[in-house]
């Protein structure tokens, strides 16, 4: 026992142990690297880059694709809702009316991917100041059901909706639409304010105006994509969520 204690106190022994640990970790890395490069070897022949594109009503809006040659990102950040028309060149919507808002995700890379979309909705008053008193729920996105998109209820709030596409999105393919329509709920028109002005002759002028006329809503879509290989770990690392991957490669939120 004493001998062992004496041995533990010797720096040379500690150094030797460290060296063994380092060697072991290198061996581990070598194995990982072997697996890694082995998979990527075939990837470099035909599949080499990840990419994702947000598509609105059939038009590509934003994309970010890794270009293997040159090692650069090809990217574009566009604007949503440009198809809405309105007076004086301003985009306007009429409460209650349904507008087409078909959002899909295209895998514009060379490798299969899992994708998710986070939608943000909020209101601004006519002066451009964010108004949290007006419910984001009045911005009604007709979310699709039963086509592979699922809402992460735990991560979603009134302002934010988190959707996961359960299936693998193959390279070059486009997902089903995660939403189809946009509607501002007609309840927004129910709030009106009345102003009464009485002049010196006793005549009264009553003016009624809609409280939320001119209010502006903002819709933001964030699309994330991650590799399908080691999906569970990759998703945990990239998105910070725990998922189960079934035998048929579909995702399930934990």
């Amino acid at each position: 026992m004493k001998k062992i204690r004496a041995l533990l106190r010797k720096p040379v022994f500690l150094l030797a142990v460290s060296a063994v640990l380092l060697a072991a970790s290198t061996l581990g890395s070598a194995q990982a690297a072997l697996t890694y490069y082995s998979e990527n070897y075939s990837a470099q022949m035909s599949v080499s880059s990840i990419g994702v594109t947000l598509v609105e009503n059939g038009e590509k809006v934003s994309w970010r694709d890794y270009e293997h040659q040159g090692g650069q990102w090809s990217e574009n950040s566009g604007k949503l809702l440009q198809h809405l028309s309105g007076r004086d060149g301003k985009k306007t919507v009429v409460p209650g009316k349904k507008y087409q808002e078909k959002l899909t995700v295209q895998n514009s890379g060379d490798i299969d991917a899992y994708v998710r979309v986070i939608l943000y909705r909020d209101w601004q008053n006519p002066q451009g100041v964010r108004d949290t008193a007006l419910s984001p729920g009045l911005i009604d996105l007709g979310l699709s059901k039963g086509n592979g998109w699922i809402v992460d209820e735990k991560a979603s709030t009134a302002e934010r909706t988190v959707l996961y596409y359960q299936n693998v999105l193959p390279a070059g393919e486009e997902s089903p639409s995660l939403c189809d329509t946009l509607k501002i709920h007609s309840d927004i028109a129910k709030k009106a304010a009345e102003t009464v002005v009485e002049d010196e002759n006793g005549y009264r002028t009553i003016t009624t105006r809609y409280v939320y006329d001119g209010y502006r809503f903002q819709l933001t879509a964030e699309v994330d994509a991650v590799q399908t290989h080691n999906a569970r770990e990759a998703i945990k690392s990239a998105w910070g969520v725990d998922v189960d991957v079934a035998a048929d490669d579909t995702l399930r939120l934990q």
């Binding site: 380092l22 990840i50 309105g86 009429v94 007609s186 502006r216 819709l219 699309v223 590799q227 690392s237």
Partner: protein, 169 residues
Amino acid sequence: MKKYLNKKILCLAGAVLLLSASGAAGRAMAYFTTYVTASGGASVSLGFTHTVPQEEIVDWTKRIVVENQGDYDCFVRVKVFAGQKYQEGLGISGQGWTKGEGDYYYYKDVVPAGSSVSEQLLVKIDHMESTEDFNVIVVQECTPVLYDENGSPYMDWNVILDSVQDSYH
């Protein structure tokens, strides 16, 4: 000297362990990911509109077209009446126009802001060989386009935005 050597070796051992740890960290980050964002917005359009009847009289027939001069889409309806003697002699017709509640003629489609109804409402007047002056009065009203739960447009004539009366003498 021995103490110095021990420290040196300990430092080396620490560095080795750190290297091992950083190697593992490197493996953890080696995932293919990407992301993209887009945003946009629009203003809510709430308000009132204004409609104007455009009338043309040709050969004792009044041709009525209603123009939406406001900023909001609407539905329109028109009512035509004359004196009791002449009311029976009014022949009112027009494609797209249907007689409905309150003896108004309702135009079937939404009249978008800045445009007019596509079909004229024709009012044929029988003057009964009269030599007296008489009036043919046209009343037109508009109501905002409302949308049901499915987003389909409908009209509610309890909400009248604008009412204009015109007469032919």
